[in-house]
């Protein structure tokens, strides 16, 4: 039995106790992501507010996990949702099936579908992971969304300020996982996301109110 080794070990652990901790105070402080992090999808718009998606269903075909369902429909002259002939009448992604490989992003001819760095999608119900068009589409007032290769410094605009220490994001100034500009309705401390069904509960009380 090597007695010296025991004391060396004890000295090591004691030294580690005094060192700076690697832990990030996660829900309150967030770490910056890798430049091309594959997280939750979003459907982008053009600058005039029209949807980029033309309902071609190529993402659905490219998807190795069969997570995407697209049902296209014809644009009508008095209600043009996208510049093309067709638009996505239904666009659903089952985020539980999704493997976040980014093939949809590559397949998309109009750069409509992209993967954002949002990753906090936890919920108590499986049904909440089927993201429909109302939750995927960038709200008109929130801009057009950003293509993956346009992200400045690899971090999208709505990620907010990046804290210098530990390269983290302050969520007070930063982003929420499903936050889409001003779309969140906050009532009685609960956060709702408006859907076609009208106000589906997404998550419990949050400290942060949906800002601009």
């Amino acid at each position: 039995m090597n007695i010296g080794a025991i004391f060396k070990g004890l000295a090591t652990t004691f030294g580690f106790m005094l060192r700076r901790k690697a832990t990030i105070d996660y829900p309150f402080v967030k770490r910056a992501h890798a430049p091309r992090f594959h997280g939750l999808h979003e459907l982008r718009r053009y600058a005039d507010g029209k949807e980029r998606c033309i309902g071609c269903e190529l993402c659905q075909i490219a998807c190795p996990a069969n997570a995407i369902t697209v049902v296209g429909a014809e644009n009508t002259p008095d209600d043009r949702k996208s510049p093309g002939e067709r638009y996505a009448f239904r666009y659903e992604i089952d985020e539980l099936r999704c493997i976040f490989c980014g093939m949809c992003e590559e397949a998309c001819p109009t750069d409509a579908i992209t993967l954002t760095p949002r990753f906090e999608m936890a919920d108590y119900r499986r049904s909440a992971f089927i993201y429909d068009k109302t939750r995927l589409l960038v709200p008109a007032e929130a801009g057009v969304g950003q293509a993956a290769d346009e992200r400045p410094g690899g971090i999208p605009g709505d990620l907010g300020e990046v804290a210098r220490e530990k390269s983290t994001v302050d969520p007070q100034k930063g982003y929420g996982a499903t936050w889409r500009g001003g779309e969140i309705l906050t009532s009685k401390g609960k956060t709702y996301m408006p859907t076609s069904a009208g106000g589906e509960l997404l998550r419990g009380p949050r400290t942060r109110k949906g800002g601009e």
Binding site: M1, I6, G9, T12, T13, R20, K21, A22, T23
Partner: protein, 330 residues
Amino acid sequence: MIEAVPLWLLVVIKSLVLLIIVITLFAYTMLAERKVLGYMQLRVGPNKVGPWGLLQPAADAVKMILKEDLTPNTADPIIYKAAPFISVFAALVAYAVIPFSQGEHGPWSIANVNAGILFVFAITSMGVYGISLAGWASGSKYPLLGSVRATAQMISYELAMTLSVIGVVLQASTTSLSGIVDAQSRLWFIVPQFVGFLIYIITAVAETNRVPFDLVEAESELVAGFHTEYSGLRFGLFFIAEYINMITVSCLATLLFLGGWGGPGAAGHPWLGLLYFVIKVFAFLFFYIWLRGTLPRLRYDRLMAFGWKVLLPLATLNLLVTAIVVALWY
């Protein structure tokens, strides 16, 4: 005022107060362990429940109480259910004689027994029953293996432990715990009994089945050892027993080798003495946690060889030398 209260009532009140203190101490020892281990692993440990995670023990207790209390079909139900209580009982009863400070009317303890050290060893040895019966009555192989290991280990190391303590008893020429502390008023026994002290702390770790001698619970081999089948509050009781035993052996180490409540200015100031006592006990508890954060588990045959071939002869030799010195020069 004290004379007006019947003795039995006084003992009951003292016991209740001490019980609450010890259980609270257990809860925060556990939290301290998680915190210190976290710090040693560059983590911060539990810090979300209450300020700095200080309410974590309460959350753990609620979780433990709400869990289902399972009894396996193959278990012997009566013994299976009784085993955790034996463990906790043995762990708690030791506190009946442990003095914490010295007041005007004698030591601060529930009972000032003149064979205190014998009582403590007799009672803590009973803790083996809790563990071995738990493993045997579970009717499952891993608990059985765990408890066989526990029994063998605790019996083996208890010999060396007792021998190391006898050195102290010889030198103090009393078996009363407060008497042993009084005998250290000039020099703590850690100096003349340094070998005994080393043997005591090693065997104390083994007695409480903690890392690096935690073969009883060896997760990687035995799932959870003797308490594999236990859940809910019964598991919690084993947990309580383990930590209380840890506190007991720390108290004993303080009393036997570190001068108990003795310290600068402690004579005549019982509260200061109590503070010294608590600081010393916490130092020992920290050492235990530190060991756990550092050392890997011993192999079983090496554990046994170390106990029988190193510690026992060393303790015997120490006892022999002490006896000769005490006989010739005291």
